[in-house]
Point group: C2
Chain length 138, copies 2
């Protein structure tokens, strides 16, 4: 696990527990955002039987610290991915099989100024997700 992650936890007065370490490692192993339930199942497979509540609490906390990002794909649950060491990006999900693929692009940065001028809001973040049909499902 990266030192910078541990530092950020310390800075937030957080401890590095067995559960927390396992959660972060599982997230780092995943190439696409996963749900709390999926994360919970994977931890069980790796013999780290953490309570689902603990998963939720950690995800919430890690989000607040900016170590984890939440992704909503409108299927009734949130997904999470580590932010550390990964570039800002977006996703596309198949409407058939649910497969998710990272999209290493972002056309929004240039647009922020326009949005701020139009709305007088201070833009803080954005979400951008694509939906479609993967090669197998179309």
């Amino acid at each position: 696990m990266a030192d910078s992650i541990i530092e950020r936890l310390r800075a937030g007065g957080k401890k590095l527990t067995k559960a927390r370490r396992a959660i972060l490692e599982a997230l780092e192993r995943s190439s696409v955002p996963i749900t709390a339930g999926e994360l919970h199942a994977r931890l069980r497979k790796v013999r780290v039987p953490i309570d689902l509540v603990t998963v939720y609490r950690n995800l919430g906390m890690l989000q607040k610290l900016g170590l984890v990002t939440a992704v909503g794909l409108h299927d009734g649950q949130m997904r999470y991915e580590v932010r550390h060491g990964r570039e800002h990006h977006h996703h596309i999900q198949c409407r058939g099989c649910g497969k998710i693929v990272d999209l290493m692009l972002c056309p929004i940065k240039k647009l922020t100024a326009v949005v701020e001028a139009k709305t007088k809001f201070a833009v803080e973040s954005h979400t951008l997700e694509f939906f479609g049909w993967c090669p197998q499902c179309r």
Copy 2:
């Protein structure tokens, strides 16, 4: 209510009930996407006391017919807006007060081809939402 809406309902074998008409009218009155609960409350105010379940069922159906669009702002519930007669657009929401403003722009159309080339997916739709701080809250 626009004739084209009624036509689309007919084409789908749907009836134009009092409840349904009221739901569509309430949605047309709203300039930004609202939740099922908010919609339900507004209907009550207009003396159309429909069951919340009916609101949900209608929203689901109208979505399938393409008359209504669902918007997810990651606050634990979906929001809905009429699609008929309105241009494709996106939104920005204030992290302070929750205020939502329409953003009549979309930088994504040009990007679809790029995404399809990169992923081999057939892109069907996308979501794009901004978050920030409104003039009053920042």
